[in-house]
Symmetry: C2
Subunit: 364 residues, 2 copies
């Protein structure tokens, strides 16, 4: 029997205990080092990375993007032509839909992110919409499927990673056909030579190693579209598709860490706490509060880094000796506010509960 064709449900993890499969994913995927929240733009190599399958090493000079399916003008286009089109650079905050999974209880066994699956890069590319218009979807097209060159098995299904957007979403979202990141060509592990960036949505929509765009007259049935990335309360629940990012914020951990526990040691006195906050779909952060013990304090907010980047918050704290639990809570302009406790779904997606950091302030 082919073990790759089994469609076993994922098991549930116990609190504070992680399986070998979870560790393997944790060692393989990588998150933002939280102290690098200090950088408006996440340094090259420090942006979070979640790849379902192996990184394909593609030849940029030979790579072609195929527009296929129900287009009046199906065609292929090479990298040189794509790079000769009008270019645009924009900072975009991306977060993995599974960020925070390890805080969801009971926990689905998948990549056990804590808080670190986020980053803000300056992406360079050409707007996608004009290229779609040039390819001319036929009148009955309802969705476009974006297929990557990465291939593997998930839940018994052999597939290339692929996701779809409706024509309406393509019109409303500022999707970028990206070939650059922080002023450099895309790194292999971030989708070289070509990917899309879907601002405001969780990262699964921003398909890497893009090899084709298919115009579809029926809904896309790819595994990554219909077999996962839904918020479900039970296996039989049809669920809600995951799309835009929930409002969220993070603290740059203050002071210095202990190597193994990562607890923080902070000197008594005035400490500037800082961090970042963001929300999805163009919503803006209007408030960040810092929670210390049982009280909330309003942080100062700076304007976001561009239209789709995170906002910066700071709060001056008078640190008194003792042990403290510090957290931060953001609210966006549609009055969405982070919950204190993790929301629950069977797969541990989109956990936007407040970020808590344990801090010790010694006596002298």
């Amino acid at each position: 029997m082919n073990p790759f064709l089994s469609t076993s449900k994922r098991s549930t993890g116990e609190e504070g205990q992680y399986s070998t499969d979870e560790l393997r994913l944790a060692n393989r995927n990588s998150g933002l080092l939280l102290e690098l929240l200090d950088s408006d733009i996440t340094p090259i190599g420090a942006h979070y990375l979640l790849n379902h399958f192996d990184v394909p090493l593609l030849d940029s000079s030979a790579h072609q993007l195929r527009f296929k399916g129900a287009f009046k003008n199906p065609h292929t286009i090479g990298m040189q032509e794509i790079q000769s089109l009008p270019s645009k650079t924009m900072p975009v905050t991306l977060e993995c839909a599974g960020n925070g999974r390890s805080g969801v209880s009971p926990r689905s066994q998948s990549m056990p992110w804590m808080y670190e699956a986020v980053g803000t890069s300056e992406w360079t590319g050409t707007p996608l919409l004009p290229l779609i218009e040039k390819a001319e979807p036929t009148a009955d097209v309802i969705e476009l499927a974006f297929i990557g060159a990465d291939r593997g098995f998930d839940n018994g299904i052999d597939h290339h990673f692929g996701r779809s957007l409706t024509l309406q979403q393509i019109n409303e979202l500022d999707v970028l056909l990206a070939y650059g990141m922080n002023g450099q060509p895309l790194l292999p592990q971030h989708g070289s030579p070509l990917r899309i960036i879907v601002p405001g949505w969780y990262g699964m929509a921003s398909v890497k190693w893009l090899s084709s765009i298919s115009a579809l007259t029926t809904a896309f049935d790819g595994h990554q579209q219909i077999g996962t990335y839904h918020l479900k309360q039970s296996e039989s629940d049809s669920g809600v598709p995951i799309q835009d990012m929930r409002v969220k914020s993070l603290i740059k951990p203050p002071g210095v860490p202990d190597w193994s526990s990562r607890k923080r040691c902070v000197s008594a006195g005035s400490v500037v706490l800082s961090g970042r906050a963001w929300s999805g779909n163009g919503r803006q952060i209007v408030r960040v509060e810092v929670g210390i013990e049982d009280s909330w304090y309003e942080a100062e907010l700076s304007p976001p880094i561009g239209q789709y980047g995170w906002s910066t918050w700071t709060y001056s704290w008078d640190a008194q000796p003792g042990e403290h639990s510090i957290c931060c809570r953001a609210t966006d302009n549609e009055d969405n506010q982070q919950p204190l406790d993790a929301p629950w779904d069977i797969a541990g997606f989109a956990n936007n509960a407040v970020h808590r950091v344990d801090v010790f302030v010694p006596n002298n």
Copy 2:
């Protein structure tokens, strides 16, 4: 009581179960994606990363390296001057001393690496030795201590990361004072703007964010030199200091993966297996064998990537349907050969047991 000053022994982890502290380290530190073993030089951002404390964001234009202690000519030198000195670029394979820890049983709770804490970068800098000679250690100097700007607690001890080398080691090892990596300035998380690279040794010797070099007339007593990085059979064992890398090899996992188990699915027929092999202290790889089921087969070896880089091996395998366990075993020119089972020490260091990959070959 200050919890940062406790010097508790690390607990032991159960097989197949990892603690929250271990997961936090696994999420924070990042390894090579093994499919990128295909690249002679590990792409920017994909080299393994093990940082004990927070990444300090240093201002390159203001950064100074201090030569202090028992030098006849103690002085400081800025980045501009360092970069005007004769420069040298060399590929160096670096491996974390904790690589493979998760395979050591019983397992010490620290960063639970599997196989991925390795990488080969092209490092650019200036040779260290002439700068040491210029600073003129006094006649009684026995060691030089290299201190980084990163600070935190480990085992109750507040310290900057620091390591030492004896004068003899400095004379024998080709230590580079490095400011570039793969043709770019060092990334913040890899030690920007200045670090050392100690070819042939495990990564702990290659101190990042280098801020001072101290000439010492007594042995360096920094925690990272004497409190850890020793091979010990018990807590009371004085242990053997960890220095040069043990002989080791890795397989680029063939075929395509399952997302969660990372098992491999390979099509029947001829498959070129490939990977890399390396050893420490200038020793060369003379043989790599591929183990399939109960037999060993000699792989083809290519010359190493430079004096201090890994060698490439390939082996053409006729894959028959069924489940297979494939491994590889390297031997160096001093007749050191990888063991089949993990060597043991209390901290799980330097595990160079053979790399095994589970492969399924379907019937058609």
